[in-house]
Amino acid sequence: MNSANSTSQDQFSSDSLTDVSKNELPPKVAALSPTEWLKANLFSNTFNSILTVISTAAILLIIRGLLSFIFNPLRQWSATATNMRLLMTQAYPEHQYARIWVSLGFLLFLTGISLAFWRAGRSVQLSQVGKRLLALGAFILLATLLAPFSNKATIIWLIIGIFIVGIGFLLKPSHEDKTVSSLTLLSGAFLLAILSLWVIPYGHHSYLSTRTPKILAEPGTVAMTTKLPWTIMFVVAMCSYFLGSFIREKIDETRSKAVLSATWLISPLFLLFLVLRDPDFDTGHLLSTDIPIFLFFSIVGSVLLLWLTRPDIGEKGRVISAAILFVGFATFLFQMLMIVRILTLVLAFFALAAPTFSGQKPARIRYTKVWIASMVILCWLITAINTPSTAKVPGDFFIGGFAITLMIFFFTMVLAFPLGVLLALARTSKFPIFRIISTTFIEFIRGVPLITILIFFSVMVPLFLPDGMDLTEIAAVTIAFIIFEAAYLAENVRGGLQSVTRGQHEAAEAVGMTNAQKTFFIVLPQALRVAIPPMVGQIIATFKETGLLAIIGIFDFLYIARSVIPGQTQYMGSTRENLLFVSLVYLVICFAMSKASQRVEKRVGLGER
């Protein structure tokens, strides 16, 4: 090869290189200077200029109005601050308050570990952070000038604004490569918030379960019983995150993710009914009734299921499962412990599903293990709910406020989801009777406003119940939420089911799968993936709808803010402050959920299709 040839080749390759870089990088748009940007975007012609001026004026007026509302000396913000505990947990007994912190701490511990395992957070460019801070600082400065502040307050806010603008200026020119994790930013923000508890006089805190409030802190400080636990909570969350990132490399990740997800589902039940409700177990009753029932069902059920999951069981198995189902329904005709009825029905369900999961020994043993685990959880849960609580609380439920909002939301989601899937399957089933029942149910529920269903359940249903069965109002209302949401989720899932092509059904049938196996292994996984985005929307809507609890007189977050606190002698008529606070909390949580859901959608959509 001669040299001329090689040089020409070099030229050729360098040419093609520049070509490639030209093709792949989008042409750089020259950054507009601020005045150019204004001209291009806001004042491009007369009409746009007028619109810009008018809307700016409107925005400024609204901000000014809001600020003069918030910072009006007449506002009783101390009503919200002082009653923070009431808002969050209603009158949970003070000497047992540590239970709340333990529960919260456990959830934060789970959060920390999960964030680490799912590698949450993305990297944000420092220059972007700088821009955001600049905007925030500028907004604070503007707001300070607009707000009717006292001189001292104006100076303090101006200093804060300038400080933030300063940091923004420092960060803005940083290089594109310099990034920071969004988790770091978030925990930084939390750290600042918690530090501020130690420094800033938010108001003096008292505990208002009785008529004479007990002062917990000197005026102008935050009570130690608030700031210390929160600081510990922060440390717990941080430590568990680092613990999570430390152990995630060392253990089987898929498996531990499955364990984590299961813990997320089960732990709220434990926290609510074991830690928070603190049931006063009666050893005698436990030994004479509860434990024998548990042992009976676990042992008899295991033996039965081990037999029913044999591959060669055939028709006999179906007959026996149907018989158990029949017995399960028959128990409602006789005087009997509720737990026996429920467990019999659950056993019938497991027996009916047995042929789907039958197989060799390991598969059968696995199925039996699932049965025993369900028994442990169900027996323990039902027993705990039936045991009187040691947490003596006015009203007929052991907790209220934001906690009950979250609790009802949790139960709704966890139970409405499987019910919705069942309804959707029934609605698309071959059997007309299932289709008719499910369609009628769904259309009926969707045709009635939620508030009607809630009132119906809280007022009427307890009257209809047979003797010997009673339902607390909270349980009745939760059931109302569950059936309402299930009807809507069913429609979302049905959309997903319809998106599964006929070819998928045929392929599953052609390899000899039964209908149940086809549904469980092939159709549902694909349908649910499609249904995730609409379902998340539905979940967010549900969370907001929990506000309706206030209307039927349950001591939820909104009810305490709207009716309880404004009734206290010191805080007569502080409704507006509290409502503003409640809206802010709802806003933040819904916003966070929708952001999180967008990322989940992205992740689920990737790769596999």
Binding site: S358, V511, Q517
Partner: protein, 261 residues
């Protein structure tokens, strides 16, 4: 060894004359609403036989082949598969389906499962095999269809030819006695057709009973023991490839061949 020699030698091994009948159709008819898609179809397929079904579009080839594992239900006549008559009895259907493998035109792999899970799912839950054994079998089947390295990918990450080979492996994992193919190469780019046909040839040589709907005349000439020509829901002509391609008796067959060759 040329393909022809292979075929004749294998043919020599197979004693088709004395083989058992494995699929028997007697007067099978089927209507979609008022439209008759199958009209009195009668045919017998013997064990280890390779039958290619030809015919113009809309002639009822797919309908017939899908009746044999009851993805469609026939309304008149009888279909016996390996001694079991197809009726509304669910147990018969499941029994027949686990003995008849089917490969579709559009592959129909399960998009949410890896290739390995696609293949081992049915053996585990339908045949009740231990998972380890099923996965081992999946690996050896992937080896057999020539893509052992793709086991952990998802179907969406494979080429069409690879997907169809996975689909064949998935059907084979049930250890079927009969394989049905409904235009297995029609959705493939030309360069991928050969890799799928090669797998099918290998399968035919190994003694699998096969019923193949295809437009690949080369495959039909080379591999088929018998060719059935359908039109208007009827079997118009049946014969060996030599007879069929060189010396067809029916006018309609001649017309079809003149259009296609």
């Amino acid at each position: 060894m040329t393909d022809n020699e292979t075929k004749s030698s294998v043919r020599g091994d197979r004693d088709l004359a004395n083989a058992q009948d494995i699929i028997v159709c007697e007067g099978v008819s089927k209507w979609f609403g008022d439209f008759q898609a199958l009209n009195n179809v009668s045919a017998t397929i013997k064990e280890q036989e390779v039958v290619v079904v030809l015919g113009p579009s809309g002639s009822g080839k797919s309908t017939w082949i899908r009746c044999i594992n009851r993805l469609e239900q026939h309304q008149e006549g009888r279909i016996m598969v390996d001694g079991v008559e197809l009726s509304n009895d669910l147990r018969n259907i499941e029994k027949v389906r686990s003995e008849v493998g089917m490969v579709f035109q559009m592959f129909n792999l399960f998009p949410h499962l890896t290739v390995r899970d696609n293949i081992s799912l049915a053996p585990i839950w339908v045949r009740k095999k231990p998972r380890a054994e099923a996965e081992e079998q999946a690996s050896s089947l992937l080896e057999r269809v020539g893509i052992p390295e793709q086991a952990d990918k998802f179907p969406g990450q494979l080429s069409g030819g690879q997907q169809q080979r996975v689909a064949i492996a998935r059907a084979l994992a049930m250890e079927p006695k009969i394989m049905l193919f409904d235009e297995p190469t029609s959705a493939l780019d030309p360069e991928m057709i050969k890799e799928v046909l090669d797998v099918m040839k290998e399968l035919a040589l190994s003694g699998m009973t096969m019923m193949v709907v295809t437009h690949e005349m080369g495959f039909a000439k080379e591999v088929a023991d018998k060719i059935m020509f359908m039109e208007g829901g009827q079997i118009v002509e049946t014969g060996t490839p030599e007879h069929f391609f060189t010396n067809p008796t029916e006018e309609r067959t001649k017309l079809f061949l003149s259009q296609i060759l």
